[in-house]
Structures are given as C-alpha cells and as structure tokens.
C-alpha cells in the first residue's frame, strides 16, 4: 500500500499543536528507528499512523505474538477494535484442538502483517478461492494483537461437560449475576470463545476476525461481534488519556503496563486452588460489557451535573476535590453545607479502588456506534473491556455497587451485552492457544 492514505506530506500547520508533552514522551520511549514512526504518530491522524509506520519501518507496527502473556492486554491500547465471540458447533475434541492450532497459526501470521495460509491472497491455484481474503494486503501490521479467551460454554453446555474438559473450568469463570438495570441481549452476550482483535487500522482488525471466522466455519460460528473506535483507556504511561463519548477522560486511574506489581496483584490470574484449573496461571479474565450511552439526553445535561455525575472536571479530568488529572481524589473534602465536592453517587467515587476493597482492573474499552436506534438517537456507547485476576473479587462487587448507586449508570447507561472469558497465558513458539488446558 502507498505511504499515506490521507495524502501524507506536510502536516497542516495547526496539527503540530497536537504533539503534546506526553506525545513527546512516547517518542522518547519508542527509540531508535521506531522514533520516526512515533514522530508520524504525533503528527498524522490515527489511521494514517500505521501506514506511515509501514514505509518507515515495518517492524515498528508489529507486536510480538509469542510470550509469557498473550498480547493485547498490557500492549499499549491500539485505536481500533473488532471483537467476536464464537459458539463452537463441533463437539469433537480433536476438531477443537485443530481449530485452536489453525487459529494460532493464522493469528501469528496476521499479527506479523502476513497473509493467512501457505499461499496467501494471490499465490494459490487459479481455480480455488485464495486462502487469505486479501483486503489487508499492502497494509502494515498496524500493531495488530489477537487475544483469545474461553467462555463457560466451552466447558459445559446444558449441564454436560464438553470436549472432555470435565472439572477444568476454572472456579473464577463464574456465571455473572444479574446486575440491576441490565438489559442484556443474548445475541450480544456470552459465547464459547472470544477473540479480541486490536489494531491501529480498522481494516486490519476486521480482516483478522473475518479470516478466523472463515477458518472456523464448520467448527465455530460467530455469535456476536463488535467494532470499536477511539480507545477509551490508556494502558501505558506513554499514552494520553482519551475521552469517551460523554466527552470525559476515561481510564485515568487505569492499571498501566508499567505497574508490574499491580498487574501481578490485580490482573494476572493465578493457578487457582485445584490442579485442574492451574492451566490459567499467568492468564487473565476478560469481562466485556456493551454499555449503551444515552448520548442525546447527556448532551442536554448541564456541565455542573455532568461533572457531578462523573466526579471529575470535564476539561482536565481532575477530580472535583482539586489538583490535576492524576491527583488522588479526596473523597472527604467538603464544600458548601458540608457536602462532599465529589458527590456520593459520582461514577469515579464508586469505581475507585478505595471504595472497592482496593481492587483495580486493567481496562481497554472502546467507543462504539452501531448506527441509529430508529428513533433518531445514536446506538452508541462504550464497549467496556477489562482484565482482572478474578471476577469474583475484582469485577462483580464493584459492578454491583455501580449498578445500584451510580447516578450515571442509573440515568444515562444501559448494559446491553455481557461476556466473561478465561484468557489463557501466552503462547510459546510451536505451541497453540490454550495448550495447557488440553494437556
């Protein structure tokens, strides 16, 4: 593909202002040849970044596939998401293992910016459909990561164990309870296997899911999928805090890749208490929630109320108790009449670790819009994704508090899809995803 799809060349003069201090830190962190790509990242629009990076240095847009952990968790959050949950249509253990091996091989190739299959998009027999669908040809790898997880349905269905996995479902892979206000659509919830594709280029992310789905035909069927744009959290200190569709900075107090102790404490799964669930050690649990936001009525809400509902100011993202974006909130600081400056039902207060037994999560959600709802309103919101060490301690109690007491949840949000998946640890060269589960 040619260098820059948006014309490239000199950036408009005004755009230089977007190179913030944090952006500069990112450049410093990128180092060496990567710095050139990083410079482009500061100046060009997000979608142009991957392309520019490709011409400068293809390696800069590749996230290593193998490792102790799966990529796509602490990897600096990419700009785009395509997530899909699959239902397994086979009941054959050998077929399932083969599928996971095939998916692993395809994932490895695609994350390196390569086509799937041995003959790719162009080099196969003339009378056969190409092995790769081809729409990502010429595009950079776009920092594509593919992160796979297993839902409860892979272990048992209608009370019966599947694939000889009796007893191997981890205790932490619970059935999530009903949270007040949930309006879950089964067609947007659950699934046996989830694949999170994140990339800086939407076409790369869509290509990845499309090709995995194709490989899966006959063994796995897409149950739901979701496109996301505009990451709503930062997973590293080199990233600016982005804004959600309510216009507020999101993920300010997220656990970051640099916080290795916190990751061990709150994000990475342990070997559990039974030998048969020890295969999850070093993995994590992925919670996905499709959260519809009532954008239109939010836009009619006064700035005072918006800030009160969130608990931060809208401009800098500072807590209403004062300071800057990263200042710790003072929940006790009172204003007029002894009322706390951060309201008791503020979203930020209820989500804060100090109100939740100190638990933290790593969030890497995305904004989404699925067109309009037919009543002239955007069907849009936040596709929430979080990784936790154990949903029983790290997601359920917090979400229960939010669903009950958070003014924002009560008036402006509606959860319409939900999923919980056990994300196994990383893949060794020559191995396949979830290998430990079948050992």
């Amino acid at each position: 593909m040619s260098g820059c799809p948006f014309g490239g060349g000199e950036p408009a003069a005004g755009e230089k202002k977007r190179l913030s201090r944090r952006g500069l830190l990112y450049l410093a962190g990128a180092g060496g040849a990567g710095a050139a790509a990083g410079m482009a990242a500061g100046l060009l629009s997000h979608d142009a970044v991957a392309a520019a990076a490709a011409t400068e240095n293809p390696a800069a847009s590749i996230v290593p596939f193998h490792g102790e952990r799966q990529a796509g968790i602490t990897t600096p959050a990419q700009e785009r998401l395509h997530m899909a949950a699959f239902d397994l249509t086979t009941e054959d253990r050998t077929e399932l293992i083969q599928l996971l091996k095939d998916w692993t091989a395809a994932a490895e190739a695609m994350t390196q910016g390569k086509a799937t299959g041995s003959t790719g998009a162009f080099d196969g027999p003339y009378d056969a459909p190409p092995q790769d669908t081809g729409e990502a040809e010429g595009l950079a790898a776009g920092r594509l990561t593919l992160t796979l997880g297993f839902g409860a349905g892979m272990f048992e269905k209608n009370g019966k164990a599947r694939f000889g996995l009796d007893g191997r479902r981890p205790d932490a892979l619970i059935d999530l309870p009903h949270f007040p206000g949930d309006d879950l659509d089964p067609a947007r919830s659950d699934g046996d296997i989830v694949v999170q594709a994140c990339a800086d280029d939407p076409q790369v992310a869509v290509h990845a899911i499309r090709n995995l789905a194709r490989i899966g035909f006959g063994k796995a069927r897409v149950r739901w999928s979701q496109l996301g744009f505009g990451r709503t959290s930062s997973t590293t200190r080199s990233q600016d805090t982005p804004r959600n569709l309510f216009g507020f900075k999101d993920g300010t107090s997220n656990v970051k890749a640099e916080d290795t102790d916190l990751l061990d404490q709150h994000i990475w799964a342990t070997k559990g208490t039974r030998d048969t669930e020890a295969w999850m050690a070093g993995g994590s649990y992925l919670v996905s929630r499709r959260i519809r936001m009532h954008i239109e009525i939010w836009d009619r809400t006064s700035l005072r109320e918006q800030e009160g509902l969130i608990g931060r100011n809208k401009n800098q993202g500072a807590p209403l108790s004062g300071g800057g974006e990263f200042t710790e909130p003072d929940f006790k600081l009172a204003g007029k009449g002894g009322t706390p400056l951060i309201p008791l039902d503020a979203h930020m207060r209820l989500a804060h670790a100090s109100q939740n037994n100190g638990v933290k999560m790593l969030r890497r959600g995305y904004n989404y819009t699925d067109g309009s709802d037919g009543l002239g309103h955007l069907d849009a919101g936040l596709f929430f994704i979080a990784f936790v060490t154990d949903p029983r301690t790290h997601y359920v109690p917090m979400q229960m508090n939010m669903a009950k007491g958070d003014g924002l949840s009560l008036e402006y949000l509606k959860h319409t899809g939900s999923g919980l998946f056990a994300v196994p640890p990383g893949i060794k060269p020559g191995g396949f995803i979830g290998e430990g589960l079948f050992a």
Partner: protein
C-alpha cells in the same frame, strides 16, 4: 463577544488570517483587534474575565466591563475550596455566585448584568466576608431588562410547583388506596382499570418522588432493576400480576394482600416526606428536563410498562409535570429570555397535540398498538422539546 469560537481550531495560517480580517472589519467593535490573536483566550475585555483566588488574594484581571453577558473564569490557586461572588454595590446583594471550586480547578460564572457599581469577592475556605474589590460595569448599550422583583417571581413559581406536588401526592394516596383495595380483594378488572390512571399522579411528580432513594425502588422498580435477592414490591410487581406474560404464575391472595398493603404504606410515606422538601428554581428547571429524559429513555421506547403497555399514560403525565414546572418558571423566564419561553410554549403544544391523537376513552391506546412511524414522530417531538427545555435552568438562574 468572542471571535475565537467562530474559527476552526486547526485552520492553516493563510486561511486563518483572511478570516480574521473579515471578522475584525465586520465586528467593528472597540478592542476588536485585541481579539485577533492566535489564542482563543483573548484579552480581558473580550472573553472571560480571569479571576485568581488564592488563600489570601483575589485577583480580577479587569476592574470594569461592558454591560451584557459576562463570564468570570475563576481559578482556585489556593489550598482550600473557594467560591466567587459578584455582589451589588452594597457588597451584600448576590448577583451571581460560583461555589465549591476545588484547589487547582477553574470554574466559570456567567452572569447578565446591567451598568452600575458592583463588588467582586473570593471566599477561600468558604468562610468570612471574603476578599472584596469594587467592580464597575459600563453601559454598552446592552442592558438586561430584568425586573427588580425577579427573585419574587421565582419564589412564587416554586411555591406554585410545591402546591402542585402536594395536590398530586394527595391524589396518588387516594388513588393507590382504591387500587390496592381492588387488587387485594381479587377484583382484577377493577385494579386494571385503576392502574394507569393512578400511576399518572406518580409520573407527574417523578423527579421529586425519585429523590427519595429508598422509596423509589420500593414503589417503582422494574424487574430488571432488581439485584439478586432483592424483594420486588411496588407498582410494576402488581403490573406483571395483572397483565401476566405467558407461563407466569399468579400471586396468591395472601401475596397480593401483602403487596397492596406495602404499596399503600410506602405511598403514604412518600406523601408525608414530600411535605418537607424544599424546592428551588433549579429543581424545577432540572426536574422538567429529567421528565423529558424519562420519556425519551423509558416511555417512548415502551420499556416502562412492559406488561400493561400503558406507556402513553405515563408519557402524558411526564409531559404534564414538565409543563407545570415550566409554567411556574415562565413569568421569570419571560423577563430573562422571552424567545425561549415562546419556543417552549410552541414545542409543548406540538407534543401535546400529537399525544392527543392517541387518546382513547379516559386514557390512551396501548403502546404496542403504535406503529414504528408513530413512535418515531413522538420521539422526534420529545427531542424537539427536550433540547430547548434543557436551557431552562440556566436561563432563569
């Protein structure tokens, strides 16, 4: 006026310069040149007046300003929570105030003020008389025509609305007793005939009723709102029993009786507690907006009355509640912003006229009898009203 807001933020330099020239010529205001800077934060007389409040000082970037709309951007550079006031010349009468500014934060005070002598005051720590300084507003030709008795109009309006709330809760109590009696006695037809008609009294005052965080879920929780293990009481529990979905097991006579008693008790409790609620103009303005939000998210989508499909009763009642709040504030609003008052009149009328076409007997057609096109039309009228209605609070404060 601020020319900054007309400019594309990242326009190339050449285009920007041209744009400036045109704007400056057209505006022809004194100091217009001062606004022609690269920075959106323009000079003190065009754009916000900068106020810096520390623990011991209150620095105001200008001592005078032309009459009309003024914005004070109040930055708290102190260590304590602060507030800022624009006071009358006597230093007592409050023209405008902004409270609860945390250390390091900036908050705007927007006021409309006529020419005359004023006093500015920062109040670090929210105590004492504050750090005061004289401030003068010169006659720019724009003089807000505000009646001296403006506050009186607001007070009268809130009193009227309080009376309305009292009246509605009384009718709600009486209606609930009749409904509960029929329901407990197993006279389900009668209970069904009273269900929607009684609930309108609740829906009309919903923002007030909902302000009691413990009573609202007891009276108005929908099944989906429950948390695991929570007992389900209130109107919608009865609704499901009166309009049972397929496969539903009816409540026993004893269960119905318990539910009915609870409904009457909780409603009486609500009525009692509303008596001591103190309302202010912003409660009315925000309450009216919230009622329209309720319609947009719950009624126009048919979610509120999932089994009885009597959503249009609730819809009308929410509109009634919003309209009374608006009517109560209207005399004040007509002084501050007559255009908004007349826009709201028109939009309320349009929505009510459309609703009227769905009237049937004493009530309405059922929500599930509406076509998609009819629902869309209603939704669009709700949006058309909701948008200007969201301006009401700021307009009267």
């Amino acid at each position: 006026m601020s020319t900054g807001s007309f400019l594309p933020k990242f326009a190339p330099h050449t285009a920007r310069r041209k744009r400036f020239a045109v704007l400056c010529a057209a505006a022809a205001l004194p100091l217009a040149l001062a606004s022609c800077t690269d920075n959106a934060k323009a000079g003190a007389t065009d754009g916000p007046i900068q106020v810096v409040s520390t623990d011991s000082k209150c620095t105001v970037s200008a001592g005078t300003a032309p009459s009309g709309n003024l914005t004070f951007a109040v930055k708290n550079d102190g260590a304590q929570v602060t507030e800022f006031y624009l006071l009358g010349a006597d230093g007592l009468q409050i023209v405008g105030e902004v409270e609860n500014i945390g250390p390091g934060l900036t908050r705007n005070l927007v006021v409309t003020a006529g020419s005359g002598k004023y006093t500015t005051a920062c109040k670090p720590g929210m105590q004492g008389d504050g750090i005061k300084a004289p401030f003068e507003i010169t006659d720019s030709g724009t003089q807000p025509a505000v009646d001296a008795d403006f506050q009186k109009l607001l007070d009268t309006g809130t009193q009227q609305y309080a009376s309305y709330v009292k009246d509605q809760t009384e009718q709600l109590v009486t209606g609930t007793q009749a409904f509960a009696a029929a329901y407990a006695a197993g006279d389900l037809d009668k209970a069904r005939s009273l269900y929607a008609a009684t609930r309108v009294h609740w829906e009309r005052i919903e923002p007030v009723a909902e302000s009691f965080g413990d009573l609202d879920p007891k009276l108005d929780a929908r099944e989906a709102d429950l948390e695991p293990g929570q007992e389900w009481t209130g109107w919608h529990r009865a609704e499901k029993d009166l309009y049972p979905p397929a496969g539903y097991t009816a409540l026993t006579a004893a269960e119905r009786s318990t539910l009915a008693t609870q409904l009457v008790t909780d409603t009486a409790d609500l009525a009692q507690r509303t008596r001591t609620v103190e309302l202010s103009a912003d409660n009315l303005g925000n309450g009216a907006k919230e009622l329209l939000d309720e319609i947009a998210t719950g009624k126009v989508t048919g979610e509120e009355e999932a089994w009885s499909h009597t959503d249009l009763w609730d819809f009308q009642a929410n509109v009634d509640g919003a309209r009374i709040a608006f009517e109560s504030l209207k005399p004040a609003l007509q002084q501050k912003n007559p255009e908004l008052a007349s826009t709201l009149e028109t939009k309320f009328a349009a929505l009510e006229a459309e609703l009227k076409t769905y009237a049937k007997g004493d009530g309405f057609v059922y929500y599930n009898d509406l076509t998609q096109e009819q629902i869309q039309r209603l939704a669009s009228l709700v949006d058309a009203l909701g948008e200007p209605l969201s301006q009401l609070t700021a307009a009267v404060l």
